[in-house]
């Protein structure tokens, strides 16, 4: 586990504890848990459950960012896979639905990866294409309507429980363990970091950088598709306009809060998921405290700025800034 949870996670854990403590002050029953119909209920479980889509997205995003890339299309992929799952749910079994939805995510990821790895496009630009067009494709699948379904299997995926845990949380946990086992249990994680650190040097050293880049975008697409299916299962319908809207930004934010540098070269899966939980804990706290949910955006902006400044290599005390300002003025 040491590989998964490096020492630098301390700041994130402390931040989570502080936010949890604030939530406890705002809402005294925050830590209350109760078991009902074989499923745990309570604000904490709610945080985990609501945080699942962003946590899944950040699992894929963190690997993409580790290669010095970025994937702006995850929200649109969520909309596509949700639309596919919802339109197939009542006529096909769960395996077919899942295979189709995840397959769509895989294809989307392949497309992004192809543009970045083979055509050599900038990641922001390459994924912008799918971000713009993807929602249109999702609308095409749902024919502009909000498709609802009642298939109990798919609904269970969003609202059921395994061993008391909501299914989405169990899935996210499973994906975290799976991803962690694959990338940290082998040299894959190291190779991904090498690609992000210096693609040219890694290439010369014999790392298949193209394959690395292609596969992280594919994985990101699959994770996004899974998040899309869960989001659709949660509301028992697919809304191509709003499913996953702006979640790409939350996912990037989660990765950044998790201490992964946007310049690539190192990453931590656990901390990225922790970042997603921090965001959700803040959201829930703001809701519980009675502030309007719109307040979230302001808080997020302040948090992302604070984290960025702390991460910035140029940020070493006010003296450093002053010196730099003087230099730029001169």
């Amino acid at each position: 586990m040491t590989a998964l949870l490096p020492r630098r996670g301390l700041a994130q854990i402390l931040a989570l504890i502080v936010i949890l403590a604030v939530d406890r002050v705002v809402s005294p029953q925050f830590f209350d848990l109760r078991l009902q119909d074989g499923r745990l209920f309570g604000s904490l479980i709610d945080v985990l459950n609501r945080g699942t889509p962003v946590a899944l997205l950040s699992l894929g995003m963190v690997l993409v960012i580790a290669t010095r890339g970025i994937d702006l299309s995850v929200g649109a992929i969520m909309a596509i896979s949700g639309a596919i799952a919802a339109s197939l749910a009542d006529s096909h079994g769960l395996p077919v639905v899942l295979a189709a939805a995840l397959g769509a995510g895989l294809v989307c990821g392949l497309w992004n990866g192809f543009l970045v790895a083979v055509l050599g496009m900038q990641p922001i630009v390459a994924t912008l294409i799918l971000m713009v067009a993807g929602r249109g494709i999702a609308q095409l699948i749902t024919e502009g309507r909000i498709v609802t379904f009642s298939s109990p299997d798919l609904v269970w995926l969003g609202n059921g429980a395994i061993l008391g845990l909501p299914v989405p949380v169990a899935i996210a946990l499973g994906m975290l363990i799976l991803t962690g086992a694959v990338v940290r249990g082998s040299a894959l994680g190291l190779l991904i970091e090498a690609t992000g650190g210096n693609a040219r040097a890694s290439e010369l050293a014999g790392v298949g950088t193209r394959a690395m880049i292609l596969s992280v975008y594919v994985w990101c697409g699959v994770c996004a598709a899974l998040a899309g299916v869960i989001a659709a299962a949660d509301i028992m319908g697919a809304d191509a306009n709003n499913a996953g809207l702006w979640l790409e930004l939350d996912a990037i934010l989660a990765v950044v809060i998790g201490g992964t540098s946007l310049f690539g070269g190192r990453f931590s899966l656990v901390l990225a998921v922790l970042g997603a939980l921090i965001i959700q804990t803040m959201n829930t706290g703001i809701l519980l405290s009675g502030y309007p949910p719109e307040f979230n955006l302001l808080v997020k902006a302040v948090v992302v700025l604070a984290v960025l400044l702390l991460q910035s290599p140029k940020f070493s005390g006010l003296a450093g800034i002053a010196a730099r300002l003087r230099r730029t003025k001169a």
């Binding site: 992302v304 700025l305 910035s312």
Partner: protein, 326 residues
């Protein structure tokens, strides 16, 4: 760059597209439709002009949509609730948005952070601030608004060139002059070509970065005022996603997303192409509006692939001396 310049390709696409549309619906080729196209896309044209500067300099500004939203809410509240004269409200919001852009530019430069993430924070901040001001749509009833909305130059054929379309055209021309004929414009290209080289050649990189983002936010503020004229209301959810349309327009206009190349005229043509797609879909009536998104995505891909090809061609003979463009 040899061969066809990207702007020319954009122009050809626009003319060919327009001809195709006109063949199917002869009514499209009228000054009425063209006038409406300019009016409907006035705010997009203004904000895309600012984005062109940012992208040529090698940056990106994701906050423009939120700045437009904030501006409409601020202007509406200032005029209707706080009783501020419209002109004073305009000056105040333009000063505020310019300061906002300058702050983002300063953060990008001083802390050496990617523009993408800083302007993302700016986007959250501006959108959140507009929600704090008001979450409802605030109608604007000031007499200035009806005067400006009613003002229009008659074009032959019955078309109306509205005040906001004129503002957009003036800003596009002004932007083109600023980019192509001034030292400031030359510095923008230099920054996009290579920051290090520009700095070594004596360009004040920090000052330029601040000014470029200031310009982008200022134009977003003007676009916000124009948007409020267009809708006669201020709404905190207005112009969501406009940053994407804007970036798409700039790219379709032949500006290189890695910086260093592009033109304001190309961007203007890119805006018109997007407007044309929208107009075609309106005329057709059976196609749904989401086809706009797909068509924009396809065009975006086509133009980026084209750029990629052109860049590869341009680099080939000097592959060894050309360094990575960072």
């Amino acid at each position: 760059m040899k061969g066809l310049p990207p702007v020319l390709i954009t122009a050809i696409v626009l003319v060919a597209g327009f001809a195709l549309c006109a063949m199917q619906f002869p009514n499209i080729a009228s000054t009425r439709v063209v006038g409406n196209l300019l009016t409907d896309n006035a705010f997009l044209g203004i904000v895309a002009t600012g984005m062109t500067f940012v992208i040529i300099s090698g940056g990106i500004d994701l906050s423009v949509g939120s700045v437009i939203g904030f501006t409409t809410v601020f202007v509406a509240l200032a005029i209707e609730r706080w009783g501020v004269p419209p002109l004073v409200a305009f000056v105040a919001i333009l000063a505020l948005s310019a300061a906002f852009g300058a702050a983002m530019g300063a953060v990008i430069h001083v802390f050496d952070l990617p523009p993408f993430i800083v302007t993302l924070a700016g986007m959250f901040l501006a959108r959140g601030a507009s929600f704090l001001l008001s979450t409802e749509s605030v109608p604007i009833t000031a007499p200035v608004y009806s005067t400006v909305s009613d003002f229009a130059l008659r074009m032959p054929g019955g078309g109306r060139l509205t005040a906001i379309a004129i503002i957009m055209l003036v800003i596009v021309v002004g932007g083109a002059l600023l980019l192509h004929l001034t030292r400031f414009g030359a510095n923008v290209y230099a920054l996009g070509g290579s920051r290090t080289t520009a700095s070594l050649m004596g360009v004040a990189v920090g000052k330029m970065t601040v000014k470029i983002y200031m310009l982008s936010s200022l134009l977003a503020g003007i676009a916000g005022i124009v948007f409020s004229f267009y809708t006669s209301a201020g709404y905190s959810l207005s112009a969501v996603g406009v940053e994407l349309d804007t970036i798409a327009a700039v790219v379709i206009g032949g500006t290189l997303l890695t910086g260093g190349q592009g033109s304001v005229i190309g961007t203007f043509l890119g805006v018109l192409i997007q407007g044309l797609i929208q107009t075609y879909i309106n005329f057709d009536g059976t196609l749904s509006s989401w086809w706009t998104k797909i068509a924009t995505g396809v065009l975006l891909f086509a133009f980026i692939a084209l750029q990629q090809g052109l860049v590869a061609l341009a680099r080939r003979p000097v592959a060894k001396s050309a360094g990575a463009a960072t």
